[in-house]
Symmetry: C2
Subunit: 350 residues, 2 copies
Amino acid sequence: MDLQTLQHEAASRTGLTVTRRDVERVLAALQRTGDVWKVVEYSRTPMRVVCALLDVLQENGGLTVQGDQLVFTAEGQAFCEQQGIAPFTTATCPTCEGRGVVLDLLGDIRERFHTIAQQRPTPLRQFDQGYVTPEVTLARVAFLWERGDLVHKDIIVLGDDDLVSLALALTRRPRRVVVLEIDERLVRFIEEQKAAHQLTALEIVQHDLREPLPEALCGRFDVFVTDPTESFVGFRAFTERGLLALRGAGSAGYFGLTHVESSLKKWRDIQRFLLDYGLVITDLRDGFNRYVNWGYEADMRSWAWLPVKVPPRDMWYTSAFYRVEWVEPQEIPNRPFSGNIFEDAEAATT
Amino acid sequence: MDLQTLQHEAASRTGLTVTRRDVERVLAALQRTGDVWKVVEYSRTPMRVVCALLDVLQENGGLTVQGDQLVFTAEGQAFCEQQGIAPFTTATCPTCEGRGVVLDLLGDIRERFHTIAQQRPTPLRQFDQGYVTPEVTLARVAFLWERGDLVHKDIIVLGDDDLVSLALALTRRPRRVVVLEIDERLVRFIEEQKAAHQLTALEIVQHDLREPLPEALCGRFDVFVTDPTESFVGFRAFTERGLLALRGAGSAGYFGLTHVESSLKKWRDIQRFLLDYGLVITDLRDGFNRYVNWGYEADMRSWAWLPVKVPPRDMWYTSAFYRVEWVEPQEIPNRPFSGNIFEDAEAATT
């Protein structure tokens, strides 16, 4: 067993780019936890690659399964020590969970939003849904506020599984909040909450983001917020719609991006296309978004890859929160996207 | 007075790209503070642009100087309200100051490093020096640790005004820490501390980063750390040396980048050249680095731009902390850079 063999074996089994560093990250995570879901989280490596590596490690006698836990064999442990791979360690701030922002600005909105969130519809696999905790939604609002993207701004939310539109509107600071959402259950829920809390600045449109952005929404917003599906084409579809909605130079966009379903190679491809569209990345806070377990784990394509078929107990799916700002606006095509935009080789949750 | 006039006037006086959003950011900052240095900090806009805007606002009767404070006139205040520009607001976590990491991992290293930092040499303008607080240097170490870039790693520090090399070595976790530093006072200080604390993994080389990287250091490191001078050519020189020192795919680099001396246009140019070299940006935490006032403010080129000639009372110069990782390593030239690499149109502290 050596790192290069593990790397090449994982690459050839998955067809994905795997670096020696990815292997190190998985071994570091395994030294900290035996919970396969937390290994995915701690390793910041695509789930598909993690699972392939776990298979190879088991076959090579470096790893065993005891109950629902992954455990290094004596040989596996010795290998890590010999390679100088230390256990995964965190220095995350306990107050803000590493997000860098607190919610004091939001006052009693915090409590009101928690109450709203308790009544929300459950996630649907059909739309690749899975939502963040209420604290994360509120932290996004605080972060937008700090960045000057909230007060008196026109904000568009593209897909709103996370109920960001409601949290934004509850502050009563934006001039306008428009939310596009495909799921009629969510549309109805947001409409109901709008009425209950008299959120006059909030507009809800049922819309499939695969369709072109309605003309009336093009070039009318200061800010977009979205949590895209992560196939490259799906990500591109969501962010192109966001950019189409923006006014121009100085407008800003926010989105999430994971390591679970996106390799660093895909991250780089995405960053290149953002820069090519004239944007600059102003903030990138990894681990900002934490998702509530959605309940359809056993139906995901990644279930088949797991060496231990056990549902997640704790939160494990996290994403980075990006802010981009338009420096040199470019022409954005308003094209339809057809078929399945949710899946690519790295997708795990579809 | 309107936003567009302010924008165009600031652009034509400075020759720099100025967006309407930059004007908004400066007006938002001015609504929060009358301290010109804090306006620079809060606005996240190049100092040169901020100062040009302050001039235009004064000439237009929107702003006056009272003592050492900038104060909106009634007309200026009305203009902000009419434009819907709200005061700059922060949601920064008080525990970690927005950095997202705490120092618990570091144990008594924290106290030892503070003691070392109290004896350090003062900054020299000749080398564009200016150092971060000891807490920030320690937070960088905690962040590297969390990212798996510390334990058993070979780390190169390119220019070490911040004494990162000492803080890294004090953890006794890296395999090797090499520091290249031009200033013989700092070289001597780091040597003395190395001896006093028996930091056997630490090597100090007196070196001018304008010269090619010594062959013996090329391709030998897992991680580089640098806080580059911010002219585009200077930034490029420092990061190219860092990349030359790295082993390849999966190696990582850390550096600071400000808004004080770098417009978002320059940020974008820098991000493009990083991606072109095969890197991906994995973390970008704005405001992570906070710098102690260096004492030569009145000798800086930006002193002449200030509408109020008053030395800074509080910290005001901050920078974002970037982490990049090499996905597709490219050939990096090991060329000499001659002349003044510290200055470009946006430089303020030279």
